[in-house]
């Protein structure tokens, strides 16, 4: 009976963290990261340029489709590179023991989920908080079923929302669209309108803290650099880990297009809670090659499962 209760907990936790339909990604089509490794895709083709001489970031950047949903992509996102012959952590360079998959026995859902939780959390690239906050991060993480704002259908916010699924580029603005998604975190549809003239930020005192903050972009060579301030302190800044921040968080995103790939990183500065700035693992999105591909409507995020969760097991 205890086992059944625990199993139910896993089921409900999984449902809870997938309150939006995972089937969304299946509608995108296009190639995906090879599921026998976690290597980023190799760029193909030329990088289109705009009339004003900048790389054209316009496009549907969901070619990997499951950048939040699949364990291989989640491992890639934390810097674990599983190649054909070896596995390594790209941040520390550490080699990680790997055994070829053989005599694969079927695991039940519980075993699969527990293994997935470990796999997507094994990276070494962790923000260094001030010591007085170490326990708080651990507590948030261990109790993320209740504490993670995304589990209550709150926006992911910058930079947790990661790579935009759609970018429209004009000479003066970038428009980013993030469809609602399930999987690792559940988020509502979100958008950003980012001026790219490098103007000064509004005085921080005059900004109401928001999920996405005030974002201003400029070009550094062929890289779009987006500087954001003016956040609330409610969101977490990475997909896993309970990484909270203060209202003084400052985020610098970098987007670089190479052929049909878009590499995104974000650096988080928050001297209120962090000992030093922290930079995400570079995430590589693949251009959707289907000229007819569109972003489908996301269903509303609605949390109805907390009451059924009976363990702390989580993503």
């Amino acid at each position: 009976m205890a086992c059944r209760i625990r199993f139910c907990g896993i089921i409900f936790a999984t449902i809870l963290l997938c309150v939006l339909p995972a089937a969304v990604f299946a509608q995108y089509g296009g190639p995906r990261m090879d599921h026998e490794n976690t290597l980023p895709p190799t760029p193909v083709g030329p990088t289109p340029m705009t009339a004003d001489g900048h790389p054209d970031l316009t496009g549907l950047w969901n070619g990997l489709a499951d950048n939040l949903l699949g364990v291989p992509n989640q491992m890639h996102n934390v810097g674990i590179e599983v190649g054909p012959d070896s596995t390594r952590d790209i941040h520390s360079g550490a080699q990680i023991a790997t055994w070829p998959l053989q005599n694969r026995e079927k695991q039940n859902n519980e075993q699969n989920e527990r293994a997935a939780t470990l796999l997507r959390r094994m990276g070494s690239n962790r923000p260094i908080y001030k010591p007085q906050y170490w326990q708080r991060v651990k507590d948030f993480d261990a109790n993320s079923n209740e504490e993670d704002p995304s589990n209550n259908c709150m926006p992911a916010g910058v930079p947790r929302m990661g790579v935009p699924s759609y970018i429209a580029q004009t000479p003066t603005y970038l428009i980013f669209v993030y469809p609602g998604q399930g999987g690792l975190i559940a988020t509502a549809t979100s958008y950003r309108m980012i001026p790219t003239d490098g103007r000064k930020h509004t005085d921080i005192e005059d900004l109401d803290g928001t999920w996405n903050g005030e974002s201003i972009g400029h070009w550094e060579g062929d890289t779009m650099v987006i500087d954001s301030i003016g956040f609330n302190s409610t969101s977490w800044f990475d997909q896993l880990g309970g990484y909270f921040h203060s209202e003084n968080m400052h985020v610098i995103e970098r987007l670089h297009r190479d052929g049909n790939t878009l590499t995104w990183t974000a650096t988080v500065e928050d001297p209120d809670v962090l000992l030093e700035p922290w930079t995400t693992t570079p995430r590589v999105a693949l251009l959707n090659p289907d000229p007819k591909a569109i972003l489908p409507e996301s269903l509303p995020c609605s949390e109805r499962d907390f009451a059924h969760v009976v363990t702390k097991e989580h993503h």
């Binding site: 364990v71 599983v82 790997t98 070829p100 998959l101 079927k106 470990l118 094994m122 993480d141």
Partner: protein, 318 residues
Amino acid sequence: MTMRITRTKALAKCAFAIAAFFALVLQPAGGQNNNAKSSPAAKVPSNGAVDDVTKSSASDVARTLRTAAEALGLARWSGVGGQRLPEVDVINTMEMWGSGTTYAPGPSDKPGEPRLAFKTEYHAAIGYNPPAMRVELTRTVSGAPQHTIEVVRDNFAWDESEIGAGLIPGKGVATPTMAAVSIRQLQLWTLPYGVIKAAVAAGDKAKLSTEKGATVISFPLSGQLADVIVRATLDPQNEIAKVETRAENPALADLNTETEYSDYADHGEIATDVKSPGHIVRKQGGHLLLDIKVKMLDANNPYLVFPVPQNVKMAAAH
């Protein structure tokens, strides 16, 4: 004609399937048994500790390490999403809580003098990438608690007056203890998880033997512990039951340790299917050092960090 060819093909397929089935069924399940059966055992004269040595190939070693890694819940794969990734070592960070007894030399520290025993609360934060460990002991000495925090990361060692001491000016004191690097690193690499990782890293230098019917994996450590040979004995469940370390350099006698692990289970409040020993007994130089019962293990790669304080880096540089 076409029918005959089809029937022949069908029979061939059937025969192949039957052969494959028996090949799978008859294949020994564990690395321990594999090794015992795959090579003839050679009796060698010994001091009594070794009664049976089996020559092992690299594949035997790899198979045994894989079996031990799977028994521990360290080698894992997930079918979520339907991918076909290999099994990988999923353990990076973990946190262990226990209670029991620690021992220390008597006041004169003379041979034969009874060791002092202290009731102890044990808390260890463990990391393998980068290699690091923070051991917090709260001993009851003459009825009063005595609290120590000992840290090692890579080739730095220091004591903390409080968790994270020395990272922010005015927040605690970090005292460099560089002489303790080796013995603290040894604690990390002699935990069951460390043994598997270090044995895999040792590559061709890792050897198998069968002693008193049990599988033993022997390998040298590396880096600052390159003089140390580890011998890890597996129990019938392929869990690491005993880890002995011997330093080849007599000046490093402190690194001669013996640790026994038993009562393996998933001790996590949040289940991970990662097993940990429930009972740890460690000896150093033949003397009891620690005897604890594990109360809880968080193996879910929790947020544990080990930044090196600036004054410790400076002390190491001089």
